[in-house]
Symmetry: none
Subunit: 142 residues, 4 copies
């Protein structure tokens, strides 16, 4: 149960996780964070907004990036240091989102990895763009 | 049900939301995002890590920032454009975290607001530091 | 799957349902209702209150009464018309609560039933006292 | 993090909270309370009832009143003493409900507040009517 170490990672390595964002995801997330902004949980309000319906929390969708980082690339043992997120398009309840993580750069001095992190909808539009900085797991002791 | 408009916001305005992060928060969030990294949901594994116990997902804790932005400052009607996050210290299950949002700068050209966004634990340590860029709600038409 | 009809109910009939109120119950309920009052979800705040720790939402605990009415006495098919609740003592996370419903009076004119409804903790203290008015299920057609 | 004190409250003060009641709200609430009455969680049964579909638990909807009281009017620090509820109309899954709380009377002898508490659907129908009695937060010591 250990992810990829610094030496095992190569620029261009990519991993993905995809999920359909359900109403229960949005509602449970609202409860966990306390973000009951009506744009997320009040359809009567949301109908009158620019987006015409309830949308998922941007940070919920961004959380799928952490899923890829923590379970696949680099995976367990990774220390998550930084994440930047640009919210480019709304995610509606029922949209299927793919989080994609790609190794952009290896920083050998401190053994860190810079990752490109995007979330893409079924139509191929980038809904979240950003970057992460991580410290991948150390090799197991010999 | 409308938040503060550009003209109603002043540099230095601050708002907060605080919550004790429960085990059920971490587990529900793991299910919503699919991030079942053992550091979050496997105590036997976590005991052997640097942190000695299960820790909350950084993006879960960062979501409390969105709660302040979406419900208080600026509040409903805000469009969330960018968020940067530096994960500076772990949050253990049972820690009480305060998310604090402060207006850093008003950008009049496009009517946007730059916010300082931090999450602080009970001992006063900054566990997440970062900035957000938002477009506050438009004034209701006259 | 039909509860007791008016004729099948007798003054003094009693039914109960008991549950230990977990932290996840309180947190999930906070999310469902949006009631993230710090008394329920912020232990650092709650330590400084009169109750010294987080307490369950009174209406969550009162909901156990509805469980007895809707599933046992009178049971499925009942129309719940009125409920009064006096919140007499706090319920802490981990407390085991018994909701007890007793037939107080049969009102033959409109076929309604008046019920005594209480919630009691493990020590025997009444934490909620009140009454309900219900319309029990009609007999199945011959 | 303190609500309005007795002196800060005026007869007629009003606050609201609104939410679309989702299927996941009803199901999670059923699990928390144990009220798995088929009217709430069995669509095949519910189709044959007077309401023709699954309805939300009355006490779940009534819980939105507690949200307004505990987070807005009077807000944190309030002690919830009594609540009466008349369930006047069903709430179906997907209905958007507004809980509205209004100060009816100030009772200076014991420093209590009587509140009108209603839940209203999108069409403007009152689905729950009732009253609450609360003890608002004490002023912070000088």
């Amino acid at each position: 149960m250990i992810g990829k170490t610094f030496d095992e990672l190569t620029v261009g390595d990519t991993a993905e996780f995809a999920k359909t964002i359900s109403e229960s995801d949005v509602y449970s997330y609202a409860g966990i964070t306390g973000d009951l902004n009506p744009a997320h949980v009040n359809e009567a309000y949301a109908e009158k907004t620019f987006f015409k319906t309830r949308i998922a929390h941007g940070m919920l969708v961004g959380g799928l990036i952490s899923t890829v980082i923590g379970t696949q690339l680099p995976g367990p043992g990774t220390i998550y240091m930084k994440q930047s997120l640009s919210f480019l398009a709304p995610v509606k309840i029922g949209d299927t989102i793919t989080a994609r993580v790609t190794v952009l750069e290896k920083l050998p001095e401190k053994g860190r990895i810079r990752l490109k992190t995007t979330c893409i909808n079924k139509e191929g539009a980038v809904v979240i763009d950003g970057e992460a900085l991580v410290s991948p797991p150390r090799p197991a002791k010999a």
